[in-house]
Amino acid sequence: MILIKNNFKLMLRCKPIALILIVMIMVTGMLSAVFHDLMTDHLDFDGFELGYSFTQGCIFEPIKPVLENIGKENGIKLIQLTDGSAQHAVQSGAADVFAEFNNDGCTVYSADDHQIEASVVEMIVSSILSGASDVEIRDYLTENKIDVQPMPDSQMYYTIAYTVYFVWCAMIVLGVVTSSENKNKIGARFRTTPVSSLSIYLSRFVPSAVVITGLIFLGAVICTALFDIAWTQVALTALILLLGCVASAALATVLFSLIRNVILCVVLGYCLLMFWGFFGGSFCPYMWAPWADTIRDYSPIYYMTRSLVELNTNGSSQFTLPAVIILCGMSVVCIPLGMAAVRFGKEN
């Protein structure tokens, strides 16, 4: 259709649109570099040494290889003490934390400045012990290990965060067409022709969805190559991004059809996006964010980011389904709303 085709051309001919792509890549690169150390600091127990000992004939001795495994995978250095007291080991600095196993269970010792490491050890040990009284120790432990959330590195995190964030820039893309229409009073001119509201709606919605999808996927591919991202769930990732682009275009069309003032739309859209992004983990990783959960529940960015992060580190995520539902829901609400807005605008 000619109207769609021409609006598409208008968008592509607007060179500043390419800035979205450049900014997306630059911000991803910058933030992942800035947060790189911070994220690895928090994620690995860097240089943390765990001493441990079993009393003679301790029933927990069989867990030793499992403990060593956990240690190895999480960067915990294990030191087995066969003599000497736990207290001494901690005080002398031979180990940061010490776990002493006897038939009653385990006691964890640590110095004041290793409280965090101590609680990590307590967590690991208590889950080992709670399932350790039967022969299925090994199975229990394997399961337990999965519970320890693998974390994305900062490059993966910010590639996801900014791909998701810029999905919502369909408003900018549609703003190009709207401002050209406004500048030249083309909206009024359209109304002197027998063109239908549906055609006008589609001429806004379709090209913005196509252009933003193209930009986002191009951006994601460039970031992948640049930052060496290993996606594990490519199909689901693409699906969520695609649904996001559709929802974003639908939202943009409602906004621009209701409010023909481009500046007002951009300001409104920007505020909404700031809010969503702030609470959704676009700026500071959602893992650290102390926000009340109820606030971030209103940010589709949160669901998308979290789902994509977990999908590509864990292989699965409880956030995928809500993300898909929210995005589809937004489209389902926004598309008829947008059509109504176009029809309303035509009559007034």
């Binding site: 000619i2 021409n6 607007c14 229409e181 030249n184 009073k185 009024a188 002197t192 027998p194 055609s199």
Partner: protein, 258 residues
């Protein structure tokens, strides 16, 4: 010879808040006419034409176009009208042919027919050799011509020109006037608004003079001239008629648009 009525306005009014822009005007335009709507700034010419094109809803009164009631059959009516707006309605970032294609397609024209219509329209306004240039690179006169090309691709029966010659040089103006006559000769009825007397005198078969939202006189040039003088109406210019009828005061002092 009685011709078919193309446009009939009866008691048409438009109020913006308290300001009455169009005040109970009644008018009939017949097939094959080039009808001139003449009036100072803010007289209500654009407002009247906007109501005919359903851009504005009349406050009261009725509009009949091609014998159909505008309130009911707007879609069929729009299909047969070519409206050339006072403000240029073209996308600067589209090429000339793309602009014409865009607007012509809105009238449901497709495929080969559309391509031919685009070239014909561009040819008509003398822009065929610049069809591949962006509209933003055009001069003011070229933009005006492109604006016209965008509204004629669907071969309208009624063409409405709202001040198509503002801000352009005499050559371009003559060109546009010639083209309007040419379109009229091919069968289109034309409504033409302007505040340039010579233009209206040169091409219009009938003229209405509008002031303060009212039509104060209608008729051919001679008929209008007879209103102000009893002898030698051919010596009286339209300008004299106009000034005599509308007075010499500045008309849009109350803040009318320019």
């Amino acid at each position: 010879m009685e011709q078919t009525t193309i446009l009939k306005l009866s008691g048409l009014s438009k109020k913006f808040d308290s300001r009455t822009a169009v005040d109970h005007i009644s008018l009939e335009i017949r097939e094959g006419e080039i009808f001139g709507l003449l009036g100072p700034n803010g007289a209500g010419k654009s407002t009247t034409l906007n109501m005919v094109c359903s851009l504005l809803k009349p406050t009261s009164g009725s509009i009949e176009v091609f014998g159909m009631d505008a309130a009911k059959s707007m879609k069929q009516i729009k299909q047969r009208i070519g409206y050339i707006p006072q403000d240029l309605a073209i996308h600067g970032n589209l090429k000339a042919w793309e602009n014409v294609e865009l607007f012509t397609s809105l009238y449901g024209i497709r495929g080969r027919e559309l391509r031919d219509a685009v070239d014909e329209s561009l040819e008509f306004v003398g822009l065929l050799d610049r069809r591949g240039s962006y509209a933003k690179t055009f001069s003011g006169g070229m933009k005006r011509r492109l604006n016209i090309a965008c509204a004629i691709g669907h071969k309208p029966d009624l063409m409405i020109f709202d001040e198509p010659t503002v801000g352009i040089d005499p050559q371009s103006r003559n060109f546009i006037l010639e083209k309007i006559k040419e379109a009229n000769a091919k069968g289109a009825t034309v409504i033409y608004t302007s505040h340039y007397m010579e233009e209206v005198e040169a091409i219009c078969t009938r003229i209405a003079i509008m002031d303060n939202g009212r039509i104060i006189a209608t008729g051919t040039r001679e008929e209008l001239a007879r209103l102000v003088t009893d002898e030698k109406p051919e010596k009286v210019t339209l300008e004299e008629v106009f000034l005599t009828l509308t007075g010499k005061k500045l008309r849009d002092y109350a803040g009318g648009e320019g």
